[in-house]
Amino acid sequence: MSCARIEDPALLTGRGRFLDDLDPFAGTLTAAIVRSPHPHARIRGVDLTRARRHPGVAAVVGPEEVAAELKPFPLAVKTPMPYYPTAVGRTRFVGEPVAVVVAADRYLAEDAAELVDVDYEPLPHVTDIEAALGADAPLLHEEAADNVATDRTFTFGDVSEVFATADHIVAGEYDFPRYSSTPMECYSVVAEWQEEAGGPAIEAWSNFHGPFSMVAVLAGAFGMPASRVRLRIPADIGGSFGIKAGIYPYVALVALASKHAGRPVRWTEDRIEHLLASSAGSDRKMRFEAAVSADGRIRGLRADLIDNVGAYLRPPEPSTLYRCFGNITGAYRIDAVEIRSRAVVTNKTPTGLNRGFGGQQLYFGLERLVDTIALRCDVDPVELRRRNFVRGRDFPYATPTGGVYDSGDYHTALDMLCKNADYEALRRRQAAARRRGEYLGIGVATIVDPSATNIGYVGLATPAEQRAAGRGKSGSTEHVRVTVDPNGVVSVLLGTVPQGQGHATVAQAVVADTLGLPRDQVRPVVEMDTATTPWTITSGSYSSRFAPLLTSALVEACERLAETIKIAGATLLGTDAEAVELADGVVRLRERPEESVPFRHAAGLVHWDPGSLPDGVSARLYEEAAFTPPESKAASRTDQINSSLCYGFVAELAVVSIDPDTRSIRLEQVFTVHDAGTILHPVLLEGQVHGALAHAIGGALYEEMRYSPSGQPAATFMDYLCPTTAETAYELDSDHLQTPSPLTKLGAKGCGEGSSMSLPAAIAGAVADALRHEGVEITSLPLHGDVVHGLLERTTEGTN
């Protein structure tokens, strides 16, 4: 169904309507936020007097107002680490909001922000995971016993026995860096506090995109039911890649500012604020250990994962730890698993969703370990993976942690990869390069790409015995409403809140194909209004949900709608609904397709002349569907969870060269094979692959949210280096295998995140492969000339 993106003409001609372009309320004022310059400080006092007196200022709200008028956001665990939209009592990261100033324009607001007097008493700070776990570490939250927000251990299978009888035990410790996404438009909120007869309410426009469980968290801070917080989201949100899921504390803050100003308030985050204090993927320290038999089969796995979630366990954290719980064994048949999952708070910005969410961290450790196992067993890394793969006959494959892999053919995908890359020739090229004194490396990663998150995994952070009966969490649902107008034009209201992926294009094509209509007879509407668009807690654009879930809901709704149209068409044709079909924009007789009536006449009949319909048929030309897969259950009492609905696959190979003199790394080639089930739109799928690869290149080679020893983060594009077109000019060979999911209506799985999880590991493997004969091992990212230089100098010193 490849066709041009219907979103593009507006975007490419400057007619996109982003939040900062919109002016939904008359008389809106502008806010600026006062932020902490300290990583950790007690707030002795906040004096808002001078700021409030500044000309043009309507309101200034500080920690006192926030603490008095809001409740802490409800957290996923009971650890006492209260989280508000501003610092209260203490500030715990550089950039944490302390006050918000509302003025006539942003210039005045920033002028007045400088007049907010905050008396800070700096406290010792900690940004490193291990240091935060130390006995004498500065304690971030005074009511908590330590800096550990959650700590759970899970055992599945006979782990001790498997390790006791293993031929090899292979272990590795890995550090995954903190990096982010850099959407074109930063966070933006326009909120109005409304006093209604039934009490206060909030209408807020923002470029939030879900998960809508955060709407409940947001409303919880105001003690309001979610229905009193009306969220509006425009069609163009300026990108996110997950990062904008962290916007809701600002929605609360701006709504509170509106209450004080008595006027609607707009706040648009600038780039420095964004890099300083919005969100990021968590940095993770992890230790993996595998029990391996002599032939290279992995029998058991121990994983010790510690996420640095920053200063607060901001929901949906600690989900980074659990999103991949059901697929923690990756593409491999491993029956015995022990996992320790910890989240630690430090004086860094709180973390959250970032494309790949939990997968890039997991697979960096797991795939580095698999490479190490291959070395130890003296087996080629490709062959070792092949030996351990889940096999075609194993599907549906139940993992020890509760995942059920719906479909796949990993061996075929890997064979395609090796053929496309001509793996043997690459190895010969590498040997020749090495003889010439050049560094050339080949890295492989093979990963399971989970899509359509089951939010039930959030429950795992709480021990099973403490999970209240009847208060379970589960599910992976998306919603649509499909309507036919009197002209036969079909409107489709989506609940997925796209971030720019092209949901409208694919939705249009799916509906048109299901109803046998030309594309231009289908009009998708992607704007979200929580007062009118159907939604539930799991709605939104995250965890690659659109392709598996929303398109399934579309098919369900369209199939029901088709019944009504068929009845109306049959009425016009003087026959029964069973005798007709929809195709080519008409309702026609199955047996004599030349006898037909236009779809629009059938729709017109229902609108204008429902009296002519058979008795008992309702004039219903709107259908809603909530695709609700039964496979997404809550976590079991034994802590197993099928953490996603679908599990795709990526096999990837990276080739890097390293200049022996400058030690600069060059990514030369990437070969990738994706299996995302049935392909809905080849061009959009390819776009997602390109984007995920670029994101991965950022994380592997360029981007890092670094903190100085004084706790100051890098907060400009001079220091936070995103790859540009010049850095992504590598040679790409992308291929696809299709093993349809039996669980979704069209067989499609998610595909937007896969390579963002696999390529960091493949690049690390390639760099390690290039430098192995120098005694260098790669256990962290990002990698660049300075890092390679340090590693090579260290090994030289060691051997001297």
Binding site: R106, R706, T724, E727, G785, H789, G790
Partner: protein, 276 residues
């Protein structure tokens, strides 16, 4: 990210500009292309009382040749020089300009603005030092000429007085048998250099200027071989998150040796051409 309040002046003569700066008594700041200054203003890291916009001063927009040299005025855009035959007449300038930011930035940024901004990792100050260029500084007491090699006093620090405008730079045109080299390494295309080098070879004399390796461009002129120790000693910057001092030393040495070799080869080739 909105600038703090400032007054704005757009004089049409140099005298008026200097008078504005003088009356601001140290609180004035000259703007031409604004590619470095505007972000700094937006971040409130610079808070001038008066912004003196020199784009309306016609005489500062000229490129003039005389006595084997070229003079580039203060409002001449980098991109204009890049596209002018000047980039062939002063080959080092032509080699360096593509490395300055991105094309979009060069279409607004000026050659003299980059010289006055004095970022230690910037390309154009290094070119000026390597070629032994002269800058003209115009203040209340009239214009004065300062050698580029004397102009830089540290990171973002120069000999420019508070009431002075850097009105032009004078660069010598290349002689036929001169050889040049220029290279830099940055984390990404268009970033400030981790280490960079400009090289000028004339006869048996080699001038090497490093940038990104100290708090200002560092220039050495050597007759005969350029030793590794000499190159290493030029690098005295502290490391940062992008590169340690030790790595910068390695990069600078690799780049300098490569570019000196190329510059010597180019000079030698032209000499041979002349002999034939």
């Amino acid at each position: 990210m909105k600038a703090a309040p400032f007054a704005y002046a757009r004089p049409s003569t140099l005298d008026e500009a200097v008078a504005e700066l003088a009356s601001a008594d140290g609180g004035g700041k000259v703007i031409s292309g604004g590619q470095s200054l505007v972000p700094v203003l937006a971040m409130r890291l610079a808070r001038p009382e008066v912004l003196v916009d020199i784009n309306g001063i016609a005489e500062l927009g000229r490129i003039e040749r005389s006595d084997g040299a070229v003079e580039i005025g203060a409002t001449v855009r980098q991109r204009a020089v890049e596209r002018d035959r000047l980039s062939a007449e002063v080959p080092l300038l032509g080699m360096a300009l593509p490395w300055v930011g991105h094309r979009e930035l060069r279409s607004r940024g000026t050659v003299c603005g980059s010289l006055a901004h004095a970022d230690p990792a910037a390309e154009l100050p290094a070119v000026a030092c390597c070629l032994d260029a002269t800058v003209t500084l115009s203040g209340r007491t009239g214009p004065r000429q300062v050698a580029a090699r004397e102009f830089y006093a540290g990171a973002m620090m120069t000999g420019l007085g508070p009431d002075e405008v850097l009105t032009s730079v004078r660069l010598p045109l290349a002689r036929r048998a001169d050889g040049y080299g220029f290279a830099e390494i940055a984390r990404r295309h268009g970033d400030f250099a981790l280490a960079g080098v400009a090289v000028h070879v004339r006869d048996n004399r080699v001038t090497v200027t490093g940038f990104g390796i100290s708090d200002r461009p560092v220039t050495r002129t050597v007759t005969g071989e350029v030793t590794g120790d000499l190159l290493d000693a030029m690098v005295d910057t502290d490391g940062d998150g992008h590169a340690s001092r030790d790595y910068r030393r390695r990069l600078f040495r690799v780049l300098a040796e490569r570019e000196i070799g190329k510059a010597r080869a180019r000079a030698g080739r032209k000499e041979r051409d002349d002999d034939q």
